[in-house]
């Protein structure tokens, strides 16, 4: 029965009773089919657009590579479900990742969140194929038309196709979430590990800054910084990402610091010193990997909240500059048409809810898997 997965990935899982993974895989395949049906007919013009439409573009190519990659992933998973990889004790015996995977799989809500996150990421990657129109082109349909065939989510007041805008918005919103969290997690880990390891005045100084920044309400701080740059004439997605990253590291740094404080008293750190390792190497190679588990959990939860903050900023008109579509910006666009065109706000709003919820589920699942005390409760 497991071979059924080779025909349709997910079918094997489903027949064997693994409903969540089965439906997840079938959903991925559905996305692939959708992208192929909607996009492959336009493939030549997407990949090699005529010079008068802007010439060469990178993201159709990214989408094509992603399509192939996702297909490979689906069929590989189905194949491995049928014929598991031969167990090779030399290679991977009880590595922490293997253990983490095992624990994570037991948590159904976490797996559900993971599939949802994957669907969002795949949607974002395949957007050039799936979205029927360019997000910023006006008058592709009538103004303010309700959802209908051809305009699945309706159109806005300029006649832009809302479905295309929401799809492209997913790319921007998700990228902002990932990159900003990557920046803040890196910075927070750096600050926290230095403070925790060296202690004393270094610790007091860094933690003083952290506490100070934590005591400022984030949104107000963001408004002030973005407003400042706006008045100086700078506005770009890049700026928003960096600012979101630079204002979100304090939580991580406190987590990492407390971890390092207890880790550095352990004997293996003394043993590292006795081997003659320099301080930076002890921190980077030996301490940080041991402190990483809570950072991963925090980061996956932070992606959701960063998407929310970006949406709030865009809603307030201080986010990514128009006409670039992000979910928050689209909600902002629809504000004036709540009575006549509620769909403009509803669909991007639903996407925000779905994205944040799935990142939170994923984060909770990871926390349960990484924290031995919470194991076995699901």
């Amino acid at each position: 029965m497991k071979q059924a997965g080779l025909v349709l990935p997910g079918l094997g899982h489903l027949l064997k009773g693994d409903v969540i993974n089965g439906l997840g895989l079938m959903l991925y395949v559905g996305l692939l089919v959708w992208a192929a049906v909607a996009g492959f007919g336009r493939l030549p013009e997407l990949l090699f657009p005529p010079a008068d439409q802007g010439g060469f573009q990178l993201h159709p190519w990214v989408a094509l590579v992603s399509w192939i990659g996702i297909a490979a992933l689906c069929w590989h998973t189905a194949f491995r479900f049928w014929k598991p990889a031969p167990f090779d004790p030399e290679v991977d015996k009880n590595s922490q990742w293997r253990e983490l995977k095992k624990q994570f799989r037991r948590n159904r809500t976490g797996v559900f969140g993971l599939h949802f996150v994957n669907v969002l990421i795949f949607l974002a990657l395949l957007t050039p194929f799936i979205a029927p129109h360019h997000p910023d082109v006006i008058d592709v349909g009538p103004s303010l038309s309700a959802p209908q065939w051809g305009h699945l989510m309706g159109t806005d007041e300029f006649g832009r196709d809302l479905f295309s805008r929401v799809m492209y918005g997913a790319r921007i919103s998700l990228s902002i979430g990932f990159i900003a969290v990557a920046i803040s997690a890196t910075l927070g880990t750096l600050v926290g590990s230095i403070a925790g390891f060296f202690g004393g005045k270094v610790d007091s100084g860094l933690m003083w800054v952290t506490d100070l920044l934590l005591s400022l309400p984030r949104l107000v701080l963001l408004l002030a910084i973005v407003g400042f740059f706006r008045s100086a004439g700078a506005q770009s997605i890049f700026l928003i990402v960096v600012i979101l990253g630079l204002t979100g590291w304090m939580g991580v740094s406190r987590i990492v610091r407390s971890q390092i404080l207890s880790l550095k008293e352990q004997d293996f750190v003394q043993a590292c010193r006795a081997l003659g390792l320099p301080n930076w190497r002890i921190i980077v190679v030996h301490l940080v990997p041991n402190a990483l588990a809570p950072v991963i959990v925090h980061a996956s939860l932070a992606i959701g909240s960063t998407i929310l903050v970006e949406a709030a900023l865009s809603f307030l008109g201080l986010g990514v500059p128009p006409p670039t579509a992000t979910w928050g910006a689209i909600v902002n666009d629809g504000r004036e048409y709540m009575r006549s065109g509620a769909w403009i706000t509803v669909f991007p709003g639903l996407m925000i809810v779905a994205a944040v919820m799935s990142f939170n589920l994923l984060g909770d699942g990871l926390r349960d898997a990484l924290d031995p005390k919470l194991r076995g409760r699901h």
Binding site: P89, E90, V91, K93, N94, S95, Q96, Q266, D267, F268, Q270, A271, C272, R273, A274, L275, G276, L277, P278, V285, H286, P289, N290
Partner: protein
């Protein structure tokens, strides 16, 4: 006799505490002849571990104070070396193994990677060479199936096994001196015997000198050539192992031997040395042992005894011994 591998001259390591200065190590002198084993014995708080950490340069300053003295390692004074020079010596020429094998290995790395780390750092080996050499070292320390064990994580190993890994790690760079800080205290007795035997064998193979720190006089007899007895931050008696066991001189050393349980005499009560080690914040004047010593007199309170020779390579710091009052 050739130049000793390690010689401590009047070594002082103090700690700045909230209520004063704790003189944990306060004028320690001893030397380890090349290729031999010196055991340092003493109660908890006698400063034996701090001495070892001072040699490694692992005392955090502050609160530690390198208050003086010389650490001559092959003639080079490590106290005068800077951090980079000390790091080049640590792990490479002087290696150390610790008391707690359960926590002395990093839980997130395979043991092979941890043994290999020092090799890559000090010997410039590539990852593959270091991996091969780690297998060789694991074989040397008597771990069965080393080519499998090398890829295991510390939590998959028992305490004795991990201590073997620690020894492999310490000896991998072929150090001239190995400092073993109570390496068998946390192990049960059968494993303890195996580890001691292993260390003796490896010393013959590698020609390493060993500084062995312990409070277990039974272990001392197993491994050492020479013994230094420490009390309250000072060496009170120093002799080769046979002399010390046959004819201990210092009242403290005699007390230590008396407090060993004797399987033959079965006396109802174990003899103890009355009192406790004085706090390093306020040592008594004169001889630091006088509060607990049956032979103390006014001179012991007034004047601090120094190590004096009482026989071939046998030195004792005690007025009573000197005056023949014992």
């Amino acid at each position: 006799m050739s130049q000793p591998i390690l010689e401590l001259r009047d070594l002082r390591t103090w700690f700045r505490m909230e209520d004063g200065i704790a003189k944990a190590v306060d004028g320690v002198n001893y030397a380890i002849p090349s290729g031999q084993t010196l055991s340092v014995v003493g109660e908890s708080g006698s400063g034996k571990s701090v001495t070892a950490l001072s040699v490694m340069g692992l005392i955090p300053c502050p609160p530690g104070i390198e208050a003086g003295g010389e650490i001559l390692f092959e003639g080079q004074d490590l106290r005068k070396a800077n951090e980079a020079q000390r790091r080049a010596v640590r792990g490479n020429q002087i290696a150390m193994i610790f008391q707690e094998p359960m926590t002395s290995l990093n839980p997130v790395y395979r043991v092979g990677d941890q043994i290999g780390e020092a090799l890559r750092l000090h010997k410039g080996m590539t990852g593959k060479e270091a991996h091969e050499y780690s297998i060789h070292m694991l074989d040397k320390v008597g771990i069965p199936k080393p080519s499998q064990r090398v890829d295991e994580y510390p939590h998959q190993m028992s305490g004795g096994m991990r201590q073997r890994v620690m020894i492999a790690m310490a000896l991998s760079c072929d150090p001239r001196l190995l400092i073993a800080d109570e390496p068998t205290t946390a192990l049960d007795v059968t494993i303890q015997a195996q580890i001691l035997e292993l260390m003796n064998t490896l010393q013959e193979d590698f020609g390493t000198s060993i500084l062995f720190i312990t409070h277990d006089l039974g272990v001392v007899a197993e491994v050492s050539d020479h013994v230094a007895v420490m009390y309250a931050g000072k060496v009170v008696e120093h002799a080769d192992v046979v002399t010390l066991y046959d004819a201990p001189q210092h009242p403290y050393t005699i007390g230590l031997f008396k407090s060993l349980p004797d399987i033959e005499s079965r006396s109802a009560k174990l003899e103890v040395i009355p009192g406790v080690v004085p706090s390093p914040l306020e040592f008594p004047s004169g001889c630091r042992f006088r509060n607990r010593c049956a032979f103390a007199n006014e001179r012991c309170a007034a004047e601090e005894p120094v190590l004096r020779s009482v026989g071939e390579g046998h030195t004792v710091a005690c007025h009573a011994v000197e005056e023949g009052r014992l």
